[in-house]
Amino acid sequence: MEKKLLIGENEVSLNIIKLTDTEVNFDFEGEKFSCRLLNKNNSDYLMSINGHSFSVSVTNFENKGMKQIFSKGFEEYIKLFPKAIGSSSKGSAAGSLESPMPGKIFKVLKKAGETVKVGETILILEAMKMEHTIKATKDGCIEEIFFHEGEQVTGGAVLCAIE
């Protein structure tokens, strides 16, 4: 399963081979990592990665989906995209709007909870120095907008959900 995420400003792609409650194996930038969760204490995860021990603290950040993570004296911000790439075609039908290409959210014009009609602009994406308007594909109520103005998005990232 391929999964995209943002580490700080950088978009990263993972190939997750196995994911259970206590084990995750993935390929990351050409290297294989096999992690076992040994213990969890509040927000601290004690794990073993390729035989090395790590104590990692995770805090869900104020921005939806953003996690503040501390490991070995480093502080990072990781955002996991809500849906795995590859299974995204169903998304549109279900009322999700996806980013047509990688870019940056230039403007968010609607809020969660607002009702929209087909063709109404929900947000504007800036990509390759051009603006792309993301419009509602059906009438409904905006359930959630997953990004803030200024945030980077990957191509295919689910931007918002309409109910």
Partner: protein
């Protein structure tokens, strides 16, 4: 006159700092809090607290009449203004005194004298304190200006008197460049400010910011508590402070501290104050300004001298005579303070907001966290972005540096983006480690101070933790039995 109750006209960490000493001295305290601050520790840590309601700063913490009426209502004998806010406001100081309340700080005339850049410099000249050589005269004749520049010695800084933002400013390296540079500065100043008047100042390459802590009683005891090195600044705000300064040897330290005492004697100062100086690489130093209050960075002085500066402020304000003599005051070991700001250093230091989930704590000795927040409290945009000061002491500078690095790791301020990571980068910079710093450090080494990417395996540990935690959240949202999710419980 004995002080029995102090009203603290401030908020956050400095309010808590004053409460701590008052408690030790058996003095009752009164604090004030605004609507936004109602969950912060200063709103409930004093003996009495008064709600200032919702509103602008002028309607709350700067509402002089309201603050004085609360002081009278609570029978407070004295008001401690902390730093910032009303601490250097002479109108407030006068009103306090007129209401027969002690103002914990210097006299109105001292605040007035030192608060004005012009009058303070005239006074310093009078008592023989070195000032940055310059020409502030009326004449704008190019030949006269050049003669003055030659007298000052190059490099010389030409500055538009109406200036700002670097416009109408030129650094002149040698005499033959002067006339051209003057023309350029004047044209720029005319375009920008419709006024081409300039002044000249000696340009100091790589200056350090050194300051000296002073406290005086009303019986002629003018004491210094050595220096603080505060060269690491961003946008004129200090970020890292330490004492002793790595730049001073015993002789220079003695000369600088004695100069500072000469100032407090010369103006017959009362209470705590700080002399800020510019130190040039050739060890010449010049008066910059005096802060007539307790400084944010006062804890490092307390760590190396063992004195409680707030206690001395209270004693001085009560008219007591210090039993402490200059020879009793010693500098022992090394102390560093970092200011933790809610800001994003990798995004132009823009302020951040949020709810602090967990501040964290250090288990080590001689680590002090002065913080006005508690877990689960909100940082708002309406007040200063400095959320805490982390202070360490160790026997050596090197020991203190390592201790600070560990302390920053322990004190995470989860839930909010802070400058913690950036502070670590400063502390690890080879020039900082050597003690080779100056006031443009952050600007000059901006490239070196950029975010460091952790090793790939560390990144992988972060990704794995994010995946585990997301997995767990999904479970919880569609969960059946909350008790099964809890670990670490056992029957006793």
């Amino acid at each position: 006159m004995k002080i029995k109750k102090v009203l603290i006209a401030n908020r956050g960490e400095i309010a808590l700092r004053v409460i701590r000493t008052c408690k030790e001295m058996g003095i009752k305290t009164v604090t004030l809090y605004s609507e936004e601050d109602k969950n912060l520790p200063h709103s409930y840590s004093a003996d009495e607290s008064f709600y200032l309601g919702q509103g602008t700063l002028a309607e709350t913490y700067l509402n002089q009449d309201k603050i004085i009426s609360i002081a009278k209502e609570t029978n407070s004998d004295a008001i401690h203004p902390g730093y910032g806010f009303l601490s250097e406001n002479t109108d407030f100081c006068k009103k306090v005194i007129d209401n027969d309340i002690i103002f914990i700080g210097p006299s109105v005339s001292a605040i007035e004298l030192m608060g004005d850049k012009k009058t303070s410099k005239v006074k310093m000249e009078e008592i023989g304190i070195p000032l940055i050589p310059g020409f502030h005269g009326e004449s704008q004749d190019p030949e006269t200006l050049k003669n003055e520049a030659d007298k000052i010695g190059y490099p010389v800084l030409i500055k538009a008197t109406a200036g700002g933002g670097g416009k109408g400013m030129r650094i002149v390296e040698s005499a033959d460049e002067f006339i051209d540079a003057l023309g350029g500065a004047k044209r720029e100043a005319m375009n920008a400010f419709s006024n081409d008047k300039v002044l000249l100042e000696k340009y100091i390459t790589n200056p350090r910011h050194i300051e000296v802590q002073l406290v005086s009683d009303s019986h002629g005891n003018h004491l210094h508590f050595f220096e603080r090195e505060c060269s690491i600044q961003r946008r004129y705000q200090k970020v890292v402070e330490e004492t002793p300064s790595p730049a001073l040897d015993d002789d220079l330290r003695k000369r600088i501290c004695e100069t500072a005492v000469k100032i407090s004697k010369g103006i017959n100062y009362l209470g705590a104050g700080t002399i800020e100086l510019i130190l040039a690489p050739d060890n010449s130093f010049y008066f910059l300004e005096m802060n007539t209050r307790l400084q944010v960075e006062h804890p490092i002085t307390e760590m190396v001298t063992g004195v409680d500066l707030v206690e001395l402020q209270l004693l001085a304000a009560a008219g007591e005579k210090f039993s402490l003599k200059q020879s009793d005051i010693k500098q022992t070991g090394h102390s560093i303070e970092v200011r933790i700001y809610a800001e994003d250093p990798d995004n132009d230091f823009l302020p951040t907001i949020g709810k602090i989930k967990n501040i964290g704590f250090s288990k080590e000795e001689n680590v002090r966290l002065d913080c006005g927040f508690a877990d689960n409290t909100q940082i708002s945009v309406n007040y200063d972005p400095m959320i805490a000061k982390l202070i360490v002491w160790d026997e050596s500078r090197n020991g203190a540096l390592h201790k600070m690095d560990r302390a920053i790791d322990d004190i995470k301020f989860t839930g909010v983006k802070t400058n913690r990571d950036y502070l670590k980068r400063i502390l690890k910079h080879p020039k900082f480690v050597e003690g080779d710093v100056h006031t443009h450090f952050i600007k000059d080494y901006a490239e070196d101070l950029k975010k460091i990417k952790p090793l790939k395996i560390v990144q992988a540990s972060m990704i794995a933790a994010a995946l585990f935690s997301e997995n767990k959240e999904k479970k919880i949202s569609g969960k059946v039995d909350a008790w099964k999710e809890l670990t670490g419980f056992r029957n006793l």
